[in-house]
């Protein structure tokens, strides 16, 4: 028998006595944790489950027999045979004294109704404190989302640990000395001026209300709490709404498997959009004679200038009539539908079923086309599965994390916290991205390679791995096909030859290749920087090959993880909102699959794959498509070469838009159907980790706004389909029959557990968090290597357009901004469009940070404020695409990846000029008004 390691010894159960009774502590449990499990309460303030115990407040002291002084039970682990007393006179006197001293400093008027200090004081029956209060700092109300009232601060440092150790945003510190010591933000800045990203973790950690949601939210008692999921990014954080009078007061992080209570600024402060005055509440029909051309805009405050209100009956009849007329006169192929990755999977499923069965074609797509279509194409080709192999939190088990073409601190903020935690635990982070995101600060190796040279970099890494004999021969032999072709192909890509192309020294390329290949577990995560190129599929093929040749897959802490963007892009794709596949990625041109769905749906289905997002816009221009039904998408903002896309929208005979706001796409609509926002309905969404999670209705919808499922069904009925779904559960049950991967998930289980990971093929199956353990779901069970060569971007910089435009998102705003720009806190923090430019490039055009600059491509021009950012590489400009008044997509190039059909959002040629005319309207109201108020 081998001797136990120190860790194993520490993990052994420990028997000791608690208040005279024998108890057993598990593993590394502290006294307070054991006591809690046995139902013994010990007062505590600086201790919070999930945070590192700090032992600074001493409210949790207990007596240990034979010891001279009392022990802090939050950081003391019991020893075998120890006799601990929590409730004798000596311990209680000490606990009460600590609480009384802290209580004496509390302000007369509290900032929260739920102060843990007050709760403990009440439990221990403390009266009015005997001591005089100390001098108290003044309030800091400089932040739009968070109020800082340090008069309530007890310096327990829970906020410091939440900020620095949990979220690793590194803003809050503990400064000064003695009686002057206090919590500070950065260099003792006001919170609003600090580098705070407003994740709100400190607010959630604060026990006394010193940090609270702004505007007195803590002093209102919610009348109900509803558990749900965040509607923003693909991380899928679980949360709890606090609701009063059908309004969301505040949001708390909930202990879900992907977030464990953490949230980001959007998830915590981005919800009042649902109460915005511009919500659509009645069906609208375009007035006869209202203009409809590409440059037409309108004021979302006054929809009735160009539309008239209608009853649901009239609007739905008009929709069905319009679509039917086109189908009868121009054929089935003249219709199409855009679903949305922001809706539920049930909505996506029903929407694609409506298009395939009701319209009679496969022209149904959604924004997956614009984000990970190329990754999906490469993954389907390589491993026959488009989902991630390992979940984000698996980075905690990885030895090496290779992150490329992603900026998770902005786009997947909570996923980024796991990466930062993993690095703090000793994992190596190799971060490759032309734009230096905040994670570079944590990276062991940061590679700022030249934009558009992903294939060069990755092939050079593979070249090193082949040449230095670091391939996993056994894995290649038993689990893959086509290695020989790949090996021959990477032969031509030596690091020395690729170094000048990608701008990374050959030695660095070799070093990271070795680190990746040699580790026990290397996990690859990637984002849109990989996928949104005309060679996006090739980029992803290289990542898959890199992973396969080293056998870094099929175990915890390794594998492939394309970070999905939208909250439900995985679910919407799984549900078949894709033109070439039915639900669960069954190809429409596969006769067996088609027969199966024809039987299930009782209809004849089109065997020809439909058109993709950008192809549909082209088909409209050519006159082949005349009617479009859009549910929750905003192609007027999100499509590349937006002018071209808007022209197409204006040209349609019949455009039906189902929305919650009058979006830029609605400007071209013939009929607008008011739908429900995420907190107003039930349904499931699937996050980037393949977790199917249940969103629960928390609010009633405003006015006559209707659930999306109801609207789809009403249109279907008017197109002659006999549908009778009673709600999301009904649709979900049909989906289970259509999709083997979720067949084992019952609605009841979702209601109980809120989250089930798929594949979950049989009821009771726990769900598989790691897949491809011993085989791939391909016909041969093996993964396919696909070599890739360098293909340059479609539009390279030249003398006239010397800069590269990179588009993307920013932390505070979601996608086209329809929701977040109407969320007051988010709008107040980031109210207007900015372009990020390297300070030296700004110098070169004679502009200063804050000046107005213009950015022009061959397709359009926008003017916006310049922001200096030395993380943006020289010769490039970054513009987030959520601002209508300076829409980045007026500039982008619609050139497509030939396989994934994804446009090249990450690269086109532009020129920069100082000056320009700003578009006057720049907000939907809310945050800016608040910002103006606070300035005065």
């Amino acid at each position: 028998m081998t001797a136990m390691t120190k860790e194993e010894m520490a993990a052994m159960p420990v028997e000791f006595k608690l208040n005279g009774k024998p108890v057993v502590a598990n593993g590394n449990e502290t006294i307070i944790q054991t006591a809690k499990r046995y139902g013994v309460e010990i007062p505590h303030l600086c201790y919070k489950e999930g945070l590192r115990p700090d032992g600074n407040c001493r409210a949790c002291v207990v007596e240990v027999k034979g010891e001279r002084v009392l022990a802090a039970s939050c950081c003391r682990t019991p020893a075998s045979g120890m006799e601990v007393t929590t409730d004798n006179a000596r311990a209680v006197a000490s606990q009460k004294m600590v609480l009384e001293l802290l209580l004496s400093d509390m302000p007369e008027e509290r900032h929260t109704l739920a102060s843990e200090l007050d709760q403990w004081a009440a439990k221990l029956k403390l009266g009015k404190p005997r001591f005089a209060p100390r001098h108290q700092p003044t309030a800091d109300l400089s932040h739009f989302g968070i109020a800082v009232n340090l008069d309530s601060c007890i310096q327990c440092t829970r906020c410091v640990r939440a900020c620095r150790e949990e979220q690793v945003n590194d803003v809050i510190g503990y400064a000064f000395r003695g009686e002057h010591s206090k919590i500070v933000f950065d260099f003792d800045d006001s919170m609003g001026d600090s580098s705070c990203v407003a994740c709100g973790e400190c607010v959630q950690a604060c026990p006394t209300g010193a940090l609270m949601p702004a505007r007195g939210v803590g002093l209102v008692k919610p009348d109900k709490q509803v558990h749900s999921v965040c509607p923003f990014c693909g991380v899928g954080c679980q949360l709890t709404y606090n609701i009063k009078d059908n309004k969301i007061l505040s949001v708390d992080g909930r202990d879900g498997p992907s977030n464990h209570g953490r949230l980001c600024v959007k998830g915590r402060y981005g919800f009042d959009y649902v109460h915005h005055k511009q919500r659509l509440t009645k069906p609208l029909i375009r007035k006869a004679g209202a203009p409809k051309h590409v440059d037409f805009t309108m004021d979302p405050d006054y929809p009735l200038e160009h539309f008239r209100e209608a009853t649901w009956e009239e609007a739905l009849d008009l929709v069905a009539g319009g679509l039917r007329t086109i189908r009868d006169n121009h054929g089935k192929k003249a219709l199409c539908g855009f679903g949305s990755a922001k809706g539920t999977s049930e909505e996506a499923y029903l929407f694609q079923k409506l298009v395939r069965v009701g319209f009679g074609n496969n022209n149904v797509d959604h924004c997956t086309r614009l984000c990970h279509a190329s990754s999906v194409a490469a993954l389907i080709e390589g491993v026959s599965s488009a989902a991630v192999s390992n979940q984000v939190s698996d980075v905690m088990h990885a030895e090496v994390i290779f992150l490329i073409g992603a900026n998770p601190t902005s786009n997947h903020p909570v996923a980024a916290t796991w990466i930062k935690n993993a690095v703090k635990n000793g994992a190596k982070l190799i971060y490759a991205d032309p734009r230096r995101g905040d994670l570079a600060r944590h990276a062991t190796h940061y590679l700022q390679f030249k934009a558009d040279t992903d294939v060069a970099l990755l092939n050079a890494m593979m070249h090193t791995i082949v040449h230095e004999g670091l391939v996993d021969k056994k894995f290649i032999k038993s689990r893959t096909l086509g290695y020989e072709e790949l090996r021959k192909n990477v032969e031509g890509y030596s690091p020395e030859a690729m170094a000048p192309i990608c701008g990374i020294p050959a030695e660095t390329i070799k070093e990271v290749a070795r680190i990746y290949a040699k580790s026990k577990g290397s996990m690859i995560l990637w984002g849109m920087g990989i996928s949104q190129h005309i060679h996006g599929t090739d980029n992803a093929r290289c990542l898959i090959a890199l992973c396969m040749m080293t056998g870094q897959i099929g175990r915890p802490g390794c594998g492939l993880h394309p970070l999905r963007g939208q909250n439900n892009v995985q679910g919407a794709s799984d549900s078949g909102l894709i033109p070439m596949v039915f639900p669960d990625y069954q190809r429409v041109d596969n006769a067996a699959a088609r027969t199966r769905f024809e039987k299930l749906w009782g209809a004849t289905l089109d065997p020809k794959p439909g058109l993709t997002v950008v192809e549909i816009m082209d088909a409209v221009h050519e006159g082949n498509i005349r009617g479009m039904y859009i549910m929750g998408e905003n192609p007027a903002m999100s499509d590349p070469d937006a002018h071209h896309a808007r022209e197409a929208l204006a040209k349609l005979d019949c455009l039906v838009v189902q929305e919650i706001f009058l979006t830029e796409t609605c400007y071209y609509a013939d009929i607008i159907l008011p739908a429900t926002a995420w907190p107003e309905k039930d349904g499931t969404v699937t996050n980037t980790d393949r977790m199917v999670q249940l969103g629960r209705q928390a609010l009633t919808a405003p006015g006559e706004a209707k659930p999306d499922l109801w609207i789809i069904q009403e249109i279907a009925r008017r197109l002659g389909l006999d549908w009778n779904y009673e709600g999301a559960k009904d649709v979900f049950n049909e989906m289970r029959r259509a999709m083997p991967s979720i067949a084992g998930i019952t609605w009841e289980r979702l209601e109980q557990e809120s989250c089930v990971t798929y594949p979950c093929e049989k009821e009771g199956d726990p769900g598989q968090s790691v897949v491809f353990i011993d085989k791939f779901p391909t016909p041969t069970g093996r993964a396919q290597f696909v070599p890739a060569d360098i293909i340059p971007a479609d539009e390279r910089p030249d003398r006239e357009f010397p800069f590269v435009l990179i588009t993307g998102r920013q932390l505070e705003h979601w996608h086209t901004g329809a929701m977040t720009r109407r969320a007051s806190v988010l709008d107040a923090i980031e109210p207007e469009a900015t372009a990020q430019v390297h300070p030296l490039d700004l110098d070169a055009i004679g502009a200063k940070p804050g000046d107005v600059i213009s950015v022009a491509s061959r397709r359009g021009i926008v003017s916006l404020y310049a922001r200096a950012d030395d993380g943006t590489p020289r010769g490039a400009v970054f513009i987030p695409f959520c601002f209508y008044e300076a829409a980045a997509n007026l500039l982008t190039n619609a050139a497509l990846d030939p396989v994934g059909k994804i446009p090249e959002f990450k690269y086109c040629a532009v020129k920069l000029m100082k000056g320009g005319e700003l578009t006057p309207r720049s907000s939907y109201g809310g945050g800016q008004a608040m910002a103006a108020l606070e300035v005065e």
Binding site: A175, F176, S190, E832, G850
Partner: protein
């Protein structure tokens, strides 16, 4: 609240707006333009420090020796050089009495408040100097001439009450004698090169 024109979005269309400073594009002041003096220090002495947290105090001392105090830019540069949170640099620097965050005056007046000096009237002496200079210990006069400090003991108790002006120890001072000393140094030339002209109200921690 950022002032318009100073990084914040210029113009006042639709009322003053507080945009997140366009300079602050990415956290940690990416795109920050350092004060030239700080940049010179960073390129010279500063660059010699290894990028590890244990360099923090020596680096703060080096910056203060070169610059006379710790301007914000220097603290920011140190945080970036050591790859540590700005708040951690703040925490360490503000803990130690040796670090100052305001530009020092041209002359430094240090009054002893140790036991012997106190018994011999340094309390009143300090009060009178404060009233005379219209500042509190830790502060600098508005003309940048004099900084006032208090210290616990000089180890020259036989000379109590002791005041040290620049590098000169003055014995058995009175309010009247100090008034004259201060008049002289305020009017006279600098003892050396002036180190900036910023002044503050000298409240602890106030330095913006």
């Amino acid at each position: 609240m950022k002032k318009p024109g100073n990084g914040s979005t210029p113009g006042k269309k639709g009322g003053a707006r507080k945009a997140k400073s366009p300079i602050n594009g990415s956290p940690r002041g990416a795109g920050l333009r350092l004060d030239p003096a700080v940049a010179r220090w960073l390129a010279g002495a500063g660059a010699a420090f290894p990028s590890s947290q244990s360099s923090m105090i020596p680096m703060l001392q080096s910056a203060q020796a070169a610059l006379g105090y710790l301007p914000r830019d220097a603290m920011q540069a140190i945080a970036r050089h050591l790859l540590v949170p700005p708040a951690l640099v703040e925490g360490v620097a503000s803990f130690y009495a040796q670090f100052r965050f305001n530009a020092p005056g041209r002359h430094r007046v240090t009054v002893c408040s140790g036991t012997a000096c106190y018994v011999r009237g340094s309390g009143k002496l300090m009060d009178d100097i404060k009233a005379d200079l219209k500042i509190v210990p830790g502060g600098t006069t508005s003309d940048g001439a004099v900084s006032l400090e208090s210290v616990s003991c000089f180890g020259a108790c036989a000379l109590a009450p002791v005041v040290v002006v620049d590098d000169k120890v003055l014995r058995q001072q009175t309010s009247a004698s100090m008034k004259k000393v201060i008049q002289d140094i305020s009017a006279g030339p600098s003892k050396g090169k002036a180190r900036g002209t910023r002044s503050t109200s000298a409240v602890r921690g106030a330095r913006k």
